[in-house]
C-alpha cells in the first residue's frame, strides 16, 4: 500500500511518502502533485524514509513534482531514500542531479537557509 501526508515545517511543505509507490498506487499522489504545483509551492521536501518500493511510474510522479516546482522557480529536495528506492535513483543517475539529503531535517534546514 501507499500513502502520503503533508506537513508544514517552517516555509517548506514536507511530503512524507510511505509504502509502495507504483503504477497501481500512484493515482491519488499524482493528483496531489498537480495541486501542489498549482498552489505555487516553492519549497518542497519529499521525505522518502518510509518509502519501501518505487517503480518507474512512481519515479515519474516524483520527477513531475520536481519539474513542475522548478518550472515556477521553486526547489524540491529529496530526503531519506533507502534500500530499493535509493538503488533506483542511483540507477537512473538521479543522485547526480537531484538534491538528496540523509534526513528530512537536513533538507528543511538547507531549504530555510537558501
Amino acid at each position: 500500500m501507499f500513502r502520503f501526508d503533508k506537513q508544514r515545517r517552517d516555509e517548506a511543505l514536507v511530503l512524507v511518502v510511505h509504502g509502495n509507490l507504483d503504477a497501481m498506487t500512484a493515482g491519488d499522489f499524482k493528483a496531489e502533485v498537480v495541486r501542489i504545483a498549482e498552489a505555487k509551492e516553492l519549497k518542497v521536501v519529499v521525505d522518502a524514509a518510509p518509502l519501501t518500493l518505487i517503480d518507474s511510474t512512481g519515479v515519474g510522479v516524483l520527477i513531475s513534482l520536481f519539474k513542475r516546482i522548478r518550472a515556477q522557480g521553486g526547489q524540491v529536495y529529496f530526503a531519506g531514500l533507502t534500500a530499493q528506492p535509493r538503488e533506483i535513483f542511483r540507477l537512473l543517475r538521479l543522485d547526480k542531479s537531484l538534491d538528496l539529503f540523509a534526513t528530512a531535517g537536513e533538507a528543511i534546514a538547507k531549504m530555510a537557509s537558501s
Partner: protein
C-alpha cells in the same frame, strides 16, 4: 390448475401457469415471451374466467390460432392446440379452474403478474362483463381502475427510462417518475450495489420539497434482510416497526428490490411524510415492484452499454498503439557478415514502453538503441514511438552517442510531459573494426560476455541521467572493442526483474550463471538466457516488458562487395559517396 405447455422450439416442455391472466408476446413484460419478429409485442392473452379459460387475440399482426382456426376470442377446452406464429402450445385444462387469488407472501414475480395482467385496450371491454356477470370476482371497479392506472404508469415509466443509456440520467428520471407516480411520497431514493464491496449504497435521494436538506435514509437490519437478502418488496409500518409484506396497508415507506440476472442489484425506496398515518397500501407496493423491475432492466442496459463502449474504446486504443509501436520496431535487422544480432521483444500487455532499434548510420557504422519509457500501456507506447524517430534524427546529426542522447533529452523536455522519463542505451558499432561507442541514459548497465574464459563484465562506463528530467543533463560515451566470440547484451528491467511464482526475481546471479554457461555464439547464448528466464518465471504472469538485444562478433569481416550488395535489403543506410 390450468397450464399452457410449449410444444416446440426452445421453450419445449415449459409450463406456464394460467391461474392468473397470462400475456403472450414479444415484449419483455409478457408472461410468455416469444422473441420472434412474427410475434406482436403484445400478442394474446389467456384469462381465467368464470366459465373457464378464454383466449383473446390482442390485434396481433399474424393472429392467434386454436386448433388451426384463427380466433379473436375463444373459450379453451382441455388439450386445445394453441398457436402464435410459429410457436405451438397445448392448453391443459383443470376442473378447478377459477380466478386467481394473489397470496400475500408472494415474491415480486407473482406480484408483477397481478400488476401487468390487463392491457389497457382490453379493460373496458371485459370490465362490464366481469362486473355484470361475476359480482364475486376479486377485482372490483376500484381495483380495475387501479390496475389500469398501474399499467399506464408502468408503460409511461418504461418509455421514460428506456430512452437513456446514461446511468446518472436514468437515476434522475427514475426518481422524478417515482414522485409523480406516488403523489403522497415525500422522498424517493435509489440504492445501488457497489460492485467493489457488494454493499447497498444510496446513489441518490430526492425530496419533494426542496430546499429541506436530504435526510439520510436508514436501510439496515431487517429491511436489508428482506429486500436484499430475500428479494421481497416491503411496506413498512410507522416508527420503524416490523416490515410487513404485501397485503398490509397504512405503510409509511416502501422498499422494492431492483433485480436483474436473478440478483438484487439495487433498491427503490419511497417514503411518505412524517405526520399522519402511512399513505401506502398493497397496490402501491405492487406498483413500486413493477417499476423496480423496469428500472432493473433499464439500469442493466445502461451498464452493458457503458461497459461495451469503454471496452470498445480501450480495444481500439490498444490496437492502434500496438500497430504504431510495431511499425517503429525494425522489421528486419541489418545483415552483416561477422556480426550477429539477437533481439527479443515481449511486452507485458499488448503494448509496452520498451523499445529497440538497429539501423545503418552510414556506410560502415550501425546504430543500436534500447529504451524503456516510464509508465505502461498506450501513452508509454506512443511516446516510445516518437522517441524512436527523435533518436534516429539525433543519431544522424551527431556521431558521438553521448551528444545524440543529449539531443533527444532536449527534444523530450520540450514536449513538457512532466511525469514521463526514458532510460536507454545507445551505441554505435563500426562493422569492420567492431569498435563500439556507448552512452547510457539511466538504463540498466549492459553486460559483455568475453569469449575468453567466459568472463562476464558489467559495463558501468558511459553512464548518465535518464532522458526527460534535467535541462542540463550530460552524457558521456565509453569506447571498447568486441573480439570474435564476444557478446554485448542490453536488456530492460524485465529480464532481471522477471519474477517466479513465489515472487523471487531472476536477478544478476542467475543472469551471470546463464551467460557464463552459455555459448560464444550469440543466438545460442540469447536463446539459453531467454529459456532460463522462462523456466524461472514458470506459470507466473509477466508483469514487466521484457526486451533484449544481444550483439556478438562471429569472426570475419564484411568485404567491400558484401557491404555494397546489402543496400536493397536495409533501410536508412547511406551509400558511400
Amino acid at each position: 390448475m390450468a397450464w399452457l405447455v410449449a410444444m416446440d422450439g426452445e421453450l419445449i416442455g415449459r409450463r406456464f401457469p394460467l391461474d392468473a391472466p397470462c400475456l403472450v408476446g414479444r415484449g419483455p413484460y409478457n408472461h410468455v415471451v416469444l422473441d420472434d419478429t412474427r410475434i406482436s409485442r403484445q400478442h394474446a392473452k389467456i384469462s381465467p374466467e368464470a366459465g373457464g379459460h378464454v383466449i383473446y387475440d390482442l390485434n396481433s399482426a399474424n393472429g392467434t390460432w386454436v386448433n388451426e382456426v384463427q380466433v379473436k376470442r375463444q373459450k379453451l377446452k382441455p388439450d386445445d392446440q394453441v398457436r402464435f406464429g410459429p410457436f405451438s402450445f397445448k392448453f391443459e385444462g383443470d376442473a378447478r379452474t377459477g380466478p386467481h387469488v394473489p397470496h400475500p407472501g408472494g415474491k415480486f414475480v407473482e406480484v408483477l403478474t397481478s400488476v401487468g395482467a390487463e392491457p389497457p385496450g382490453d379493460i373496458i371491454d371485459s370490465l362490464d362483463a366481469k362486473i355484470a356477470t361475476n359480482p364475486g370476482l376479486p377485482f372490483g371497479l376500484a381495483e380495475m381502475e387501479d390496475a389500469d392506472r398501474k399499467l399506464r404508469t408502468l408503460y409511461a415509466f418504461m418509455q421514460s427510462v428506456s430512452t437513456t443509456l446514461d446511468t446518472n440520467e436514468l437515476i434522475d428520471r427514475i426518481l422524478a417518475n417515482l414522485l409523480d407516480v406516488f403523489p403522497v411520497a415525500e422522498t424517493a431514493g435509489v440504492y445501488l450495489q457497489d460492485p467493489g464491496t457488494g454493499t447497498m449504497e444510496p446513489r441518490k435521494l430526492r425530496r419533494r420539497r426542496e430546499p429541506s436538506p436530504p435526510r439520510h435514509i436508514t436501510f439496515s437490519g431487517v429491511f436489508h434482510e428482506e429486500v436484499v437478502g430475500k428479494g421481497r418488496a416491503i411496506l413498512s409500518a410507522p416508527l420503524g416497526g416490523k416490515p410487513q409484506r404485501v397485503g398490509a396497508s397504512g405503510g409509511v415507506a416502501m422498499h422494492a428490490p431492483i433485480l436483474y440476472d436473478g440478483e438484487v442489484h439495487g433498491v427503490l425506496h419511497v417514503r411518505g411524510g412524517d405526520d399522519g398515518p402511512g399513505p401506502f397500501n398493497q397496490h402501491d407496493l405492487d406498483l413500486l415492484t413493477g417499476l423496480a423491475a423496469q428500472a432493473g432492466m433499464a439500469l442493466q442496459n445502461a451498464r452493458l452499454h457503458q461497459e461495451s463502449l469503454l471496452q470498445q474504446r480501450l480495444q481500439q486504443d490498444l490496437l492502434l498503439a500496438e500497430q504504431i509501436q510495431k511499425s517503429f520496431l525494425p522489421r528486419q535487422l541489418p545483415q552483416v557478415a561477422g556480426i550477429e544480432f539477437h533481439t527479443e521483444y515481449r511486452p507485458a500487455y499488448s503494448v509496452g514502453g520498451d523499445f529497440y532499434d538497429v539501423f545503418w548510420l552510414n556506410y560502415d557504422r550501425l546504430g543500436v538503441f534500447i529504451g524503456d519509457v516510464s509508465g505502461k500501456g498506450v501513452s508509454a507506447a506512443l511516446l516510445m514511438a516518437r522517441i524512436s524517430s527523435d533518436l534516429r534524427l539525433a543519431a544522424m546529426a551527431e556521431t558521438d552517442p553521448a551528444r545524440s542522447l543529449g539531443h533527444v533529452n532536449r527534444i523530450v523536455l520540450e514536449r513538457r510531459q512532466p511525469d514521463i522519463f526514458v532510460t536507454g542505451i545507445y551505441f554505435t558499432l563500426e562493422v569492420k573494426t567492431h569498435k563500439i561507442l556507448l552512452a547510457n541514459a539511466g538504463h540498466l548497465p549492459p553486460f559483455i560476455r568475453r569469449a575468453k574464459e567466459g568472463v562476464l563484465t558489467r559495463l558501468d562506463g558511459g553512464a548518465g541521467t535518464a532522458i526527460g528530467i534535467f535541462d542540463d543533463a550530460e552524457y558521456e560515451s565509453t569506447a571498447f572493442t568486441l573480439a570474435p566470440g564476444d557478446t554485448l547484451l542490453l536488456c530492460t528491467d524485465g529480464v532481471l526483474e522477471a519474477a517466479s511464482p513465489s515472487g523471487e526475481q531472476f536477478g544478476f546471479d542467475r543472469l551471470e550463471a546463464s551467460l557464463k554457461a552459455g555459448s560464444s555464439k550469440t543466438h545460442e547464448l540469447a536463446a539459453r538466457l531467454l529459456r532460463d528466464v522462462r523456466v524461472h518465471v514458470g506459470e507466473a504472469a509477466q508483469s514487466d516488458d521484457l526486451t533484449l538485444i544481444a550483439c556478438g562478433i562471429s569472426g570475419g569481416e564484411p568485404t567491400e562487395e558484401e557491404l555494397e550488395s546489402w543496400d536493397e535489403t536495409t533501410h536508412g543506410r547511406r551509400r558511400p559517396e
